[in-house]
Assembly symmetry: C2
Homo-oligomer: 302 residues x 2
């Protein structure tokens, strides 16, 4: 168990992703180093008004706390309240072109230390995943994204992709809308089975497969012509992204509960969002097809 | 204790407010009656793209449930899980003009019935309040709004305004920003002291004082000339409204947890919202004055 190796990987991953995105976008990210008074800090890399990316961030953070908040450990409530340490890379990219999907990727490592007066080893686990949120759906994109997700996990065991794909469908779900956030991907948490090396290698693989999963999709959609109608639908659907992140997302809740850096956490929110009362797409339209053909759990690799 | 009298008052209040707003705006509200499969229903009155109101809603709802969600009873956890009944009028108005403030008002009545096999009387309580969220601050408006709030409460006892004003400052606070939502107003919950008639009359008075508290402010700001800069700041600050309602507001959380009607609950969200990374107003600007002079608890009637 070597947190320093995880940290080294995370920092390299962040730099790799940011540099590649700068190359694709043509504009530089802003890099903000920050410290947390309670311990730890991070590096927030942000782009706003890029050529392809309207807003996006790639955050690294490494933080410590005296008492693990309940939102960090839904599956192990007995660890709540212990001293803890967490590090991760988290990214969300909102392209300007409505035909290019929003994407989220996160890899993280948690460690809960024995409480004062308690005995025992630290309890550690990995979590992570990536998922895609299109405004206009393309089967080709969904298949590509899921194929790369599967490729990232297959070397570690034959059932990881199926399990983590299902977990993603369950996690990125807006209960108050009875609607998935997008076309899914993979999600996992509380991963320690198989030992540190196994889980770390799996998490490295998820991180390493982000660029091959997303860049080809971004590149093939970013020049599609669009108009006011598509931008409007994108702004409306981005509202769902805000609703999910602020109401249901455990990562966001954990960050805000644990005194995280608000501006880094809320980098995930879109640049421009619209809410409209009881709006429904015209039957048969491209917008309606997003709901009927893409916003439902599907086996994209069947 | 007569819930029917409360319901009659609430429906009349809603109609009174909607009709007056239609007169001021010049465009009609849409009226949506709805039923809840689990019991109860409501009337949602909405305006979008009005002449003064860019988006706004005045909701009446009367709903029942088998198990009271924890978010409804922060102060009486022993009531969570009981059969319950709730009715209320809730409104949020987002004017288009950035010089006109957003406003929120709510009056509500709750009743928790004895659980299966339990003895005893129903436990009831009232809650309510109103608060103002300016984008550009005007002392005159804050003083007017708070004066009318005080006028609404003073007949019921000398200390209500001070208590409910403080409660409002505490409740409408964004912990993750260390920032109040706006210039406050009044807020109360779990009100039963003094008996049903007293609490009902006080709640009627709060509802009745909404129009005199807000309409004069809306009317005097709605014609102020503005440009792109003011609209942009308004859209940015509206982000705070979204963050508060989705992350911290117990009413919103209660609605979404209890299977409420999502489109009615999320009527409170602004029509157009922008997020920007680590943005700060220019020192000395009108935007900076909102933070320095208005977004802090102040005794407006001193």
């Amino acid at each position: 168990m070597d947190p320093d190796k995880v940290k080294e990987f995370l920092l390299e991953l962040q730099e790799l992703i940011v540099e590649r995105l700068e190359q694709v976008d043509g504009r530089p990210f802003r890099r903000d180093h920050w410290q947390r008074p309670e311990g730890g800090g991070g590096l927030t890399c942000v782009i706003e008004e890029g050529q392809l990316l309207e807003r996006g961030g790639v955050n690294f953070s490494h933080v410590r706390g005296e008492r693990l908040p309940p939102s960090a450990t839904a599956q192990r409530p007995e660890l709540a309240g212990r001293p803890w340490e967490a590090m991760g890379v988290s990214l969300v990219l909102h392209p300007r072109n409505p035909y290019a999907p929003t994407v989220h990727m996160n890899v993280r490592f948690f460690c809960a230390l024995p409480g004062p007066g308690q005995q025992g080893e630290p309890v550690w686990w990995f979590g992570g995943g990536m998922d895609l949120t299109p405004y206009y759906g393309f089967e080709e994109d969904a298949v590509h994204f899921h194929s790369v997700c599967k490729r990232a996990l297959d070397p570690f065991g034959p059932d990881y992709y199926a399990r983590f794909k299902r977990w993603c469908d369950e996690y990125f779900f807006l209960k108050h809308r009875n609607e998935p956030r997008g076309i899914g991907g993979i999600f996992y948490d509380d991963l320690s089975a198989g030992g540190f090396e196994h889980c770390f290698n799996l998490t490295e693989s998820v991180g390493d497969h982000f660029l091959p999963a997303y860049i080809p999709i971004l590149e093939r959609r970013a020049d599609t012509p669009y108009g006011e109608r598509e931008r409007d639908f994108q702004a409306y659907r981005r509202g769902r992204y805000v609703e999910f992140n602020l109401v249901w997302d455990r990562g966001t809740l954990f960050g805000l509960q644990s005194g995280g850096r608000t501006e880094s956490i809320l980098m995930s929110l879109p640049p421009v969002v619209k809410w409209r009362y009881d709006w429904h797409p015209e039957p048969g339209s491209a917008e309606a097809r997003l709901y009927s053909d893409f916003l439902k759990p599907r086996d994209w690799l069947a």
